[in-house]
């Protein structure tokens, strides 16, 4: 017997189920986390005697490609949730699978980028631009990995819940989706700031 209310149904006065409020609170803290790094970027750049233009150091086509990859993964993620709303479990699995594959693609491209930097002896310690570039993108990549783990769990063993409690499972996918879209959203800002300015 479930003691905890509002896991699936929404509470009347807030209009939310628990996890929905929880994920927005979590994302609020993430905004402050990435926000602090962006603030650091602003201060370091403002005070720097020389600051390279992003495109002179970073690979813009690779970055742009990765941007498209993440946007596509966001689309497939929301389609995965929509498929559950349509009661189409196969479609859900297909779309979530695409999301995970695209996320992995992002990481592969990122590792090529990092590898190329290291080959040219460009490390975080080389200058503050590279330091903040590596820190921002590595932290973002950690969040991508986290998303892959969560999504893979829901694609695999976690999807059993669809048989026993479909609405709760759909909510879980909605929450995972909100997290994943946030990861995309951070990149939407990271890409122009680091690569294009």
């Amino acid at each position: 017997m479930e003691l905890m209310p509002y896991i699936v149904e929404e509470r009347k006065d807030t209009g939310l189920y628990n996890a929905k409020l929880g994920i927005w609170l979590f994302l609020s803290s993430e905004v402050m986390l990435f926000g602090a790094l962006f603030s650091s970027y602003v201060l370091l750049r403002t005070g720097a005697a020389h600051w390279p233009q992003g495109s002179s150091i970073l690979n813009v086509p690779m970055g742009a490609f990765n941007t498209v990859v993440l946007i596509a993964s966001s689309v497939s993620m929301v389609f995965a949730w929509a498929a559950l709303k349509e009661n189409k479990f196969g479609k859900f699995k297909f779309n979530l699978g695409i999301t995970i594959l695209l996320a992995l693609t992002f990481l592969v491209v990122k590792s090529f980028e990092y590898g190329a930097k290291f080959e040219h002896h460009m490390y975080p310690k080389t200058n503050t631009f590279l330091a903040i570039y590596f820190t921002l993108t590595a932290l973002h990549a950690l969040h991508v990995i986290g998303g892959i783990i969560v999504n893979s769990y829901f694609w695999g063993p976690g999807s059993k819940m669809w048989q026993t409690d479909p609405q709760r499972f759909t909510n879980r996918i909605e929450i995972a989706g909100i997290y994943w879209h946030f990861v995309d959203l951070v990149w939407i800002f990271l890409f122009p700031v680091l690569y294009l300015l």
Binding site: L3, L21, L43, T128, T135
Partner: protein
């Protein structure tokens, strides 16, 4: 739906007590762990006080066990003094007070006071505790590293912290664990208060304790992440040789650093204090909440100005995010920005004064019961008053030029946290002990604990205001011996130290009382021995799985004491008719 009876899941010992998801067990876990850290942090300071009272003298009894790298011949090295200072601050704030005030009291009593069966995310709650535990272990482990634990202050300013021994790296890793623990806890608290209030428990019927914890949770949620970001950057500076916080051309011990430079020392300070200031409100708000509950209960009348207190605490939380650089007046910031922070700092003193005033005014016309919790709660008021008022010259940029980083600052914040928050914690322990254990703590031992502690706290910290005004800087391992202008105030060091050791002595009756009462204390006759109105007293003692025998329904506000026409001098929140 909810029932308080034998847990039908029949959990194993490990699932019930170690990897517990019940908020009450987790609250106790936080309580026991943080009380241990509080004691350990206190002992670090007792050691420091020897060096301050008798600089250069070998430490009696313990000195020979400290080892040659820390105290050759039993005489404390300056580096070891710095280690004790940095870790005393870190442990007291992050491993002692916050986990106790938020993790222990918050976890145990917030769900009970709102009529909920548990926290909104029980497994997340368990994760929070174990992250805290790991963070604590990492911090303690750092004492055994070559070069010892962190020694760059609890504020860990670069460039010093960037080039400090490896203990600082462990400090940063420990902080990452502690910060994540707090973040997950904050999410849980906020979701719980919004989503799991019982029927009829509107926001304006919440006990002030819950309001205080709710605002505290928002502070933790939004202020900690920038420190986490800064911590990661400092870690990278130390481990990957980046220069986030290292200016160009830095020379250490005659050698220029090989790092690239181009960093900003002030960036760390901004990010640290962005957390640092809300952090001090994290330390005080739950304490105010505890004091409010106990005062309301022991004056047998409603708190005066409940609405003002609620609006004040919300406004306080909001303002706390935009005052941080009053810790940075002496960094060479421009006058415009200093004026901005000075203004917001003056404004933020208003809500705290309102809250304190409401508590003071509540006493007027009350039928006051002077039990041990009430003694501690009452003493909180003038002690926090002194602490708060002495913050004003620090918050104004001009006097701060003279007072910054002196003993005046140490006295100010210790008044707020030590006879402030910690007394509120003692009050809370004496008050809620019967609900958790079904027994009362000894009143006699309570008096032996209270009166000397109150007296000694003032003896320790009041002289420090004098020393600070005379210009004695903080963090000096010899207590200011070399300052010609401060010689007259130096004998006060010995007085503070002796009183500190005596204070330690008078905590022993409390520790004994706590443990002895759990086993042999006088059993309480009812579930509500203090005759209180809030919902935690409507549960069995101790509350079982699910907390309430039947789902509570709330009909009235939190402090309906002495309602005209009522049968008794208190009317619980879940009672429909007077």
């Amino acid at each position: 739906m909810s029932h308080s009876h034998e847990d039908p899941r029949r959990l194993s010992f490990w699932r019930k007590y170690i990897f517990a998801t019940d908020h009450k067990i987790i609250g106790l876990q936080y309580g026991i762990t943080s009380l241990f850290f509080l004691l350990f942090g206190f002992c670090l300071m007792l050691l420091m006080r020897w060096q301050l009272a008798y600089p250069g003298e070998p430490i009696p009894w313990i000195g020979k066990f400290l080892g040659e790298s820390r105290a050759p011949g039993g005489i404390m090295l300056p580096e070891f003094y710095n280690e004790l200072g940095a870790m005393h601050g870190t442990i007291m704030v992050f491993l002692g007070v916050v986990p106790l005030v938020f993790g222990a009291f918050g976890n145990y009593f917030v769900p009970l006071q709102i009529g909920a069966p548990d926290m909104a995310f029980p497994k997340l709650n368990m994760t929070s505790y174990w992250l805290f535990f790991i963070g604590g272990v990492v911090m303690l482990a750092s004492f055994f590293l070559p070069g010892g634990a962190a020694n760059s202050g609890w504020t860990a300013y670069p460039p010093l912290a960037d080039i400090a021994p490896i203990g600082q790296t462990f400090w940063l890793i420990g902080m990452v664990f502690l910060i994540n623990s707090s973040l997950l806890g904050a999410i849980n608290f906020i979701a719980t208060v919004f989503q799991l209030r019982a029927e009829g428990m509107t926001f304006m019927r919440l006990p002030f304790f819950v309001w205080a914890q709710l605002v505290t949770a928002f502070l933790l949620l939004l202020a900690f992440p920038p420190l986490e970001a800064a911590g990661v950057m400092q870690l990278l500076d130390r481990v990957a040789h980046t220069s986030f916080f290292l200016p160009s051309g830095l020379v250490v011990s005659g050698e220029p650093l090989p790092e690239s430079g181009g960093g900003s020392v002030l960036l760390w300070q901004h990010l640290f204090w962005f957390l640092g200031h809300p952090e001090v409100y994290v330390l005080i708000l739950p304490a105010m909440g505890i004091v409010a509950e106990i005062i309301a209960n022991n004056i047998r009348k409603p708190l005066w100005g409940y609405k003002s207190m609620v609006y004040s605490v919300i406004f306080l939380g909001f303002m706390s995010f935009i005052v941080w650089a009053h810790h940075m007046y002496l960094t060479g910031m421009g006058t415009a920005i200093s004026a901005f922070f000075q203004t917001t700092t003056m404004i933020i003193s208003i809500p705290s004064v309102i809250i304190l005033t409401c508590l003071f005014l509540s006493l007027w016309g009350g039928s006051i019961r002077f039990n041990i919790p009430m003694l501690f709660a009452l003493s909180f008021l003038p002690m926090f008053g002194i602490g708060g008022l002495t913050g004003l010259p620090l918050g104004l940029a001009a006097p701060d030029i003279h007072l910054h980083d002196t003993y005046y600052v140490i006295a100010h914040f210790h008044y707020v946290v030590a006879p402030g928050t910690i007394f509120a914690l003692f009050a809370g322990i004496y008050y809620w002990f019967p609900k958790v254990t079904g027994r009362k703590m000894s009143e006699v031992l309570g008096h032996i604990h209270f009166w000397p502690s109150l007296f000694l706290m003032n003896c320790i910290f009041m002289p420090m205001f004098v020393q600070g005004l005379a210009g004695v800087s903080r963090r000096l391992y010899d207590g200011g011996q070399q300052y010609a202008h401060a010689q007259a105030t130096l004998p006060l060091n010995e007085m503070s130290s002796i009183c500190a050791w005596l204070l330690g002595l008078f905590q022993l009756p409390f520790i004994f009382n706590l443990i002895w009462s759990m086993l042999k204390g006088k059993k309480v006759a009812s579930d509500n021995p203090w005759e209180a109105t809030t919902l935690e007293w409507a549960t069995p003692t101790p509350p079982g799985h699910g907390n309430f025998v039947k789902v509570p329904k709330v009909y009235r506000g939190p402090y309906e004491y002495s309602v005209p026409g009522a049968a008794k001098d208190f009317t619980p929140q879940d009672q429909e008719r007077v």
